[in-house]
Every structure is written in structure tokens, then in C-alpha cells.
């Protein structure tokens, strides 16, 4: 009140939006740093505008190819590649989930002892850090060309995704529910089954559906390094500038992803 009364009547009181970062030195330092970085980063990209200009024509041909995709001329390749992609997707998701669950349990700090926790977290970190395609290269080198390498790659990638999110979910569970089950004198497995599982099950199912979707999208590139699936056909199509075949493959991928997303939405809604 004293603030109000001490102001002389009619004096203009200024108001400015308080800045997001209070300390002016830090604020201007960050802005300046960001600007310098942007300039340096942009400068590091060399653009050959002549090449880009020439490419526009090819780009336009590619866009046009979408209006008349060619499913026919390489139909056998497309069909076999797609089936192989789907097969790898399903098999690797199932195996991936089966391995993720124990690792996820082990990586949850509230139920696992420290050594187990560290090992499981280590596996998750490595799996997440290495891009699928890098793993696929190694797997092809070890197991030879073909869908087996792709299957192992995707299973390994699934672990990093699913086990991490499952572990985080378990760590977020309601402690009192788990405690109540423990207090009944059940064994460790009973405790997990009654105290933890009901809390994380809906999300685990949702995440598994989501991972199925991701695995399919990833399976489309594994063929680039010889690990099976539609990627090999797609790569060939690009190499020969057969944009209409490439468009056909891409459209097929999009349609399958959309169908998978739609059906997983339906399943998740029914699970709730």
C-alpha cells in the first residue's frame, strides 16, 4: 500500500516485460554465443548452388513421379522386399519385447540391486547410442547378408527403447500399491506380478505397439547395408534414377505406417 501512496498522482509508471533470463550479462552472452555459433555453423555447410539448381529439375521429376507411381515393373522385388521387412519387424519386435522386460526390470532402481541396475543401464545406453544402421553393418559383417542380420539389429534396438521406457515407468509407479502387496508376504515374483505389473501394463502395451511401428520404418533402411528388407530395392531404384518405382515403394511404406498407426490406436483405446 505504501508503494501506491508514495507515488505522486499522475506520474507515468513504466512497465516492461521482465526478461526470461534475469542476469543481463548472461542473457546477452547467450544471445551473442548463439549468433556466433549460427554464423559458424552455416558457414561450414558448402552449398554448390549450381548443382542444386541442376538438381531442381530432377527433384521436380521425383515429385511428379508420385502422381504416377510405378508398381508394375519391379513388382516382384517390391513384394518380396515388403514381406521381408514385415517379417523382420514382427519377429524382432516379439523377441525384443521378451528381452526388454527382464532388462527393464533390472534397470529400475526401485526394484533392482545396484550391480544389476548398472549392467542393465549399460546395455540400454549402448543400444540407444548406436544407430540401427551401424549395428546392422556389424551384424552383416558377422552373420552375413540377409534378414537374420536385420532381425538381430532390430531386436537389439528394441531393447534400448523399450527397456529404458519400461524402467522409467516402473520407477514412476505408485509406491504404496507395491508396498501393500509386499506387506501381504508374497514372494518377489508375486510382488512384481500384483504390485508392479498392473500399473505398467497398459503403457507397456502402448509402447510395444509404437515400437512395432518404429521397427517397420527402420527395417526400410536396413537393406541399404544388406541386412534384408525393402531398403535394397529402394536403393537400387534411386541409383538408377527410377523415381517412379521409388515413389511406389515410399507410398507403400507410408500406407503401411498409417495402417499400423490407426490399428495401434484402436488397440490402445480398447486396452484402456
Amino acid at each position: 500500500m505504501s508503494v501506491a501512496t508514495s507515488k505522486p498522482l499522475g506520474a507515468a509508471r513504466r512497465w516492461k516485460k521482465p526478461p526470461f533470463i534475469k542476469r543481463p550479462l548472461l542473457r546477452w552472452g547467450l544471445i551473442l554465443g548463439a549468433l556466433i555459433y549460427l554464423v559458424l555453423a552455416t558457414a561450414s555447410i558448402e552449398v554448390n548452388w549450381l548443382r542444386v539448381y541442376e538438381g531442381l529439375d530432377r527433384g521436380w521429376r521425383f515429385v511428379l513421379a508420385f502422381s504416377q507411381p510405378d508398381f508394375i515393373s519391379r513388382w516382384t522385388d517390391i513384394r518380396e522386399g515388403m514381406i521381408e521387412s514385415l517379417v523382420m519387424t514382427v519377429a524382432s519386435t516379439v523377441v525384443g519385447i521378451a528381452i526388454s522386460v527382464p532388462i527393464g526390470l533390472g534397470a529400475a532402481r526401485n526394484i533392482a540391486p545396484l550391480p544389476v541396475y548398472l549392467i542393465c543401464r549399460g546395455i540400454i545406453t549402448v543400444s540407444r547410442a548406436l544407430h540401427e544402421i551401424i549395428v546392422a553393418i556389424l551384424m552383416v559383417a558377422i552373420f552375413g547378408f540377409g534378414p537374420l542380420a536385420g532381425f538381430i539389429t532390430l531386436s537389439f534396438a528394441t531393447i534400448g527403447f523399450l527397456a529404458k521406457l519400461l524402467a522409467e515407468d516402473i520407477e514412476d509407479t505408485d509406491k504404496s500399491q507395491a508396498e501393500a502387496i509386499k506387506s501381504t508376504g508374497g514372494s518377489w515374483l508375486q510382488w512384481i506380478n500384483y504390485g508392479i505389473q498392473p500399473q505398467v501394463m497398459p503403457r507397456l502395451i502402448g509402447l510395444s505397439m509404437y515400437r512395432l511401428d518404429i521397427n517397420f520404418r527402420e527395417s526400410a533402411i536396413l537393406g541399404l547395408v544388406g541386412a534384408g528388407g525393402i531398403g535394397a530395392t529402394l536403393n537400387t531404384a534411386f541409383d538408377r534414377y527410377e523415381f517412379d518405382t521409388a515413389a511406389a515403394i515410399i507410398i507403400t511404406i507410408i500406407v503401411i505406417v498409417m495402417a499400423a498407426e490407426y490399428s495401434s490406436g484402436v488397440i490402445r483405446a480398447r486396452m484402456q
Partner: protein
């Protein structure tokens, strides 16, 4: 000043929320709108500023037919109708000052509001209103740091900076404790008196309504079933509005509390008047 004629609202689900409601409110009158949940109170005040589009009927503010306005004219009309909400409806991640200045959005252009460069007159008025509602210390706090009562005061300041002729108030006290509820109701009614504003206040709490307003309208299933002074709310009237219940206790309680309240109110008003003069 405000006339509502044959106002009817049917929701797409088929529910008839308002059944040809008629009412007229003169300048400076504060009206409490009471009724059970689902009686159409919220729909009614939202039909006035067309946050909800009425199905048929007329809303006339100062000889201007609101239901026929195009979107630009509607925005101009909305500037003169301040609205106060149940859950405050402040933009929680903006500061108190920005929330109050949001009431000026209808008056300034997009870029000025985007860059937060409001005219000095608006800023002066915002400072004055924040002093008046007792929040001068909170100006640069974020809205989600405030308590319920403080938030509703910001909501009131935001409505008043619009320089309205009419206040539409939707359950202003529903999320507040009993003491804060009274303070907020009192503040709203005092401000209406100071500025000679008309107001429609939706309110659940019959006792609170009787305490502060000159006129009560009872709504049931989208129809007006009572329109008169607060003293006329006898048990049979309340039964008609809300249904069978023992109303005697409510009414007696109000009478007792009124006496205590009157004494407390006298003190509070004196304090506020001093403050008002001071600023």
C-alpha cells in the same frame, strides 16, 4: 441497457439449454443468476458475448443487436463486456501485468500486443487497477504463483481494464474458500457501484447471493422461475428452483451471518475507501 429477448440455445447434442429466456437489466444493476448445475446459467452469460452462439433470439446491448454482428463488430462489442471466470482462466505462464493488459487486446493492434508495447495510458490504468484490487506488489509475478483469491483479483482487473459497461461473471467464488469468496463478491459489487456497471453474476451459493445483490433471477432447466429481490427467496421459491430440500436452515443461517457480516463489511469498506483515496 441489456435486453435479452426470446433467447434459445440448443446444443448439437439436442439438449435444450435455454428455452426462450427474456430479461432486461438497467444500467448499474447487479443481478445474481442462481439455479442448479445444468440450469443454463453458464450458457446464458456466454450467449450474451457469444462465446456460445445462441440458436435463436436477440441480445441487445445499448440498442445494438449483438446476435447479428459479424466477427469484427463482435470483437468491438466484446470490449465493452468484461468477463470473470470460475477457475480464474488466467494465462498461467504470463505475468500478472501481462494478464491484466490482456484486457486491452481488443483496443490495440496485433504487433503492439505481440511486442508488449501497450500505450502508456493502458499501463497507467493497469497500475491503478492492480493497486485497487490490492496486488501492487505482485506485478511481475507469474499468474501460477498466486493464490486463488489473488488470481481472481487479477481476473477482475483484467475485466475492468476493458472499460466495460457490463460484467459477465461466471461462478466467481466456486473455487475459493468461504472468507475469500465474500471478499471477492464484495470487491466485485463495490467496483460495479463505483463505476455504475451492470453485472450478471452466476452463483451457486444462494446465501452469498442474497448478501450482496439487489436482484436475483432463478433459472431452472433453461427457464426463468424467479425474478425479484433477494428477500423473496422463500422456501417454496427455492424448492421450485432447486427441488425439494429443507431450506429453512439455509435462510436462517443467512440472517444470522448477515448481522455479523454487516459489521465486518463496514470495517472492510472503510479500509478500502482509505486505500482508494490514497492511490
Amino acid at each position: 441497457m441489456l435486453q435479452i429477448k426470446q433467447l434459445l440455445k440448443r446444443y448439437p447434442t439436442g439438449d435444450l439449454a435455454l428455452q426462450r429466456v427474456d430479461m432486461a437489466i438497467p444500467k448499474g444493476q447487479v443481478v445474481a443468476l442462481i439455479g442448479p448445475s445444468g440450469a443454463g446459467k453458464s450458457t446464458l452469460i456466454r450467449c450474451v458475448n457469444r462465446l456460445v452462439e445462441p440458436t435463436s433470439g436477440q441480445v441487445i446491448l445499448n440498442d445494438r443487436e449483438l446476435t447479428k454482428l459479424n466477427s469484427n463488430a463482435l470483437r468491438v462489442a466484446r470490449r465493452r463486456m468484461g468477463m470473470i471466470f470460475q477457475e480464474y482462466a488466467l494465462v498461467e505462464r504470463l505475468t500478472v501485468m501481462e494478464n491484466v493488459l490482456a484486457g486491452q487486446l481488443g483496443y490495440v493492434g496485433f504487433w503492439r500486443s505481440f511486442l508488449r508495447k501497450f500505450p502508456q495510458s493502458s499501463i497507467d490504468e493497469a497500475f491503478r487497477l492492480l493497486d485497487r484490487v490490492g496486488l501492487e506488489e505482485m506485478i511481475d509475478k507469474r499468474a501460477d504463483e498466486l493464490s486463488g483469491g489473488q488470481r481472481q483479483r487479477v481476473g477482475i482487473a483484467r475485466a475492468l481494464i476493458q472499460d466495460p459497461e457490463l460484467l459477465l461473471v461466471d461462478e466467481p467464488t466456486a473455487s475459493l474458500d468461504p472468507k475469500t469468496s465474500r471478499q471477492i463478491m464484495r470487491l466485485i459489487c463495490e467496483l460495479c457501484e463505483e463505476r455504475n456497471l451492470a453485472a450478471i453474476i452466476n452463483i451457486h451459493d444462494v446465501a452469498l447471493a442474497q448478501m450482496f445483490v439487489q436482484r436475483v433471477i432463478g433459472l431452472r432447466l433453461g427457464e426463468i422461475v424467479y425474478d425479484g429481490p433477494p428477500t423473496g427467496l422463500q422456501p417454496d421459491v427455492l424448492t421450485e428452483i432447486y427441488g425439494e430440500e429443507d431450506w429453512q436452515a439455509t435462510i436462517e443461517k443467512v440472517d444470522e451471518e448477515d448481522e455479523e457480516e454487516a459489521a465486518a463489511a463496514a470495517v472492510a469498506v472503510a479500509v478500502v475507501v482509505e486505500e482508494g483515496v490514497g492511490s
